[in-house]
Symmetry: C2
Subunit: 332 residues, 2 copies
Amino acid sequence: MRSNSQIVLVSHPQGMVKKSDMTLQTTPLPHHLPEGHILVEIAYISLDPAIRGWLNPGTTYIKGVQIGEVVRTFSAGKVIESQNPNYQTGEYVWGLLGAQQYALHDGQGLVKADLSKGPLSWHLGILGMPGMTAYFGLLEKGQPKAGETVLISGAAGIVGTTVGQIAKRKGCRVVGIAGGAAKCQFLTEQMGFDAAIDYKNEDVLAAIQRTCPNKVDIFYDNVGGDILDAALAHLALGARVVLCGSISQYNSTDPRGPKNYMKIVTARGYITGIIVFDYINRYAEGMADIGQWLAAGQMAVQEDIDEGLENFPSTLLKLYTGENFGKLLLKI
Amino acid sequence: MRSNSQIVLVSHPQGMVKKSDMTLQTTPLPHHLPEGHILVEIAYISLDPAIRGWLNPGTTYIKGVQIGEVVRTFSAGKVIESQNPNYQTGEYVWGLLGAQQYALHDGQGLVKADLSKGPLSWHLGILGMPGMTAYFGLLEKGQPKAGETVLISGAAGIVGTTVGQIAKRKGCRVVGIAGGAAKCQFLTEQMGFDAAIDYKNEDVLAAIQRTCPNKVDIFYDNVGGDILDAALAHLALGARVVLCGSISQYNSTDPRGPKNYMKIVTARGYITGIIVFDYINRYAEGMADIGQWLAAGQMAVQEDIDEGLENFPSTLLKLYTGENFGKLLLKI
C-alpha cells in the first residue's frame, strides 16, 4: 500500500493563522490511477500570501478550503505516473497541487514547467503565479509609461521584486516599501530599485514624498492599511492603484479600509486589482518576456527555501510576520 | 455709497460645521467697476455638499476658503453692470459667485444661463454643476449599458435624482438609497426609480441584494461609509464605482475608509471619481441632452428653496443632516 503525507485544515483560522489550524496526516494512494489522472511527486510547495484568504470558509474568487481538506497551495513536481494523454511520465508541472507529498490530479489548470527557462523552484516564483501576477498586474492594469514613478509595497517579496524589475525594464523610476534595513538594501543593491522605504523605521508618507518628487503614477499594493493610505496621499494626476493584496489585513479580525480613498478622485485616477487566474491563457507571453530578461541577466531571483512537509505551518507563519527574505518555498 | 452683504468665514469648522463658523458682514461696493469686470446681482445661492470640504484650510482640487473670505458657493444672478465685452447688462450667469448679495467678478469661468431651457434656479441644479456632475460622472466614468443595474447613494439629492433619471434614459435598472420613507417614495413615484432603499430603516446590504438580483454594475456614491461598504459587497463582474462624494464623512473628525475595498479586485472592476470642473468645456453637451429630456417631460426637478442671505448657515446645515428634500437653494 502506497501512502501520502498531507497538510490538512483542522480549523478555519480566527485572526492570525496558528500552527494548530493544520495537521499532518497520512493517507493511502490508489494502486491504479483513475482514467485521465496523473500522479505528481511534489518537489516544492509555494508559500503565498493568498493562502490565508483561502483558509476562510467563504467563497471569494475561489472556494474556501474546507475542514479536512488538503491546504491549497501552488506546488511543483514531476509526473511519476500518467493515465492522461496530455502528460508524460518525467514531465515537470506546477499548479494548485496542494501541501502534500503526492498529488493525484486530472491535469486541468496545470502548467508544464520548461526547465530550460530556469530551475523548477523558479516556476513557483518569478516564472510562475507570482511572476505572472507581477507581469499582468503591472503591465495590463498599471499601464506603465517610461519616466513614470512606480511605488511598490511588500516590495521585497517575489511579486514586489518582480514588479520592480519589470518596471525598470519599462523605463520607470521604481521605489519599494519593505520592512527593515536589510530588505531595503537588498532592493536598491540587488534588485535595481531607485529607492527603498523602511516602513518599520521611517515615516512612510514623508519618505514617499522624498523619494517620489514627481508623485506616484502607479502604486502596486500588496499590503493595504496605513501604507495604502500614505500612497493615496501622494498620487500624481492620472494615477493607477493596482491592488494585488492586503497582507496587513489578512490576519486581522477587524480589517479597515483606506481612509484616504477619495484621493483617487482628486488624482483623476482609478483603483483596480489583479486576479492572476484571469490571465491563464496568456501566461506563455509573460513567461517568454521574463524568461528572456532572466537569460539576459537583466532580472535577479532571491529564494528562501525551508525543508520538510512537517514544517509547512511554521514556514507559512514566516510569511505573515515578514521573516522571509525572497520567495518562500518548502522543499519536500 | 453702495453696500454688499456677504457671508464670510470666521473659523475653519472642526467636525460638523456650525452656524458660528460664519458671519454676515456688510462691505462697500465700488462706484465704478474695474476694467473687464461685471457686477452680478445674485438671485439664488446653491447649497452643495462640496462646500464643507472648501471650508477646510488646505488645498485639494481647489484652494480652501480662508478666514475672512466670502464662503464659496455656486450662485446665479443677473448682470447689472458690465465693463467686460463678453457680458451684457441683463444677461443671467451662474458660477462660483459666492454667498453674497452682489458679486464683482472678472467673468472667468462663469456660464451664461439660457432661460429658454428652464428657470434660473434650475441652472444651479439639473442644468448646472450638479446636473453636469451627474451627467459626466455617470456617462463618462460609469459607462452605463442598457440592461445594467445602477445603484445610487444620496439618491434623493439633486445629483442622485439626475443620475437616476439619466440612467433610466439609457435603459438601466435604477435603485436609489435615501433616508426615510418619504424620500424613497419620491424616488420610485416621482423620479422613476425601479426601487429605493431606506438606509435609516433597512439593512442596506440585504436590501441591495433583494433589489439588485443581478448585482450592481455601477455604484454612483455620494455618501461613503457603511453604504459604500454594502455596495462593494454586492458588485457584479466588471463593476464601476464612481465616487462623487462622501457626505457621511465630511463632518467627521475621524473619517474612515471602505473596509470592503478589496471587493473591487474580485469584481474585476474599478473605482474612480468625478470632478465636474474637468468637463467645463463640455457642459454645453450635457445641458443640451438634459434640456431636451426636460423639454420632452422625461425628467423631473424637485427644489427646496429657503429665503434670505442671513439664513445661509442654517440652510447649509440642513444639507448635512439630510433635512432637505430636493435641490437646496437660498433665494436672495
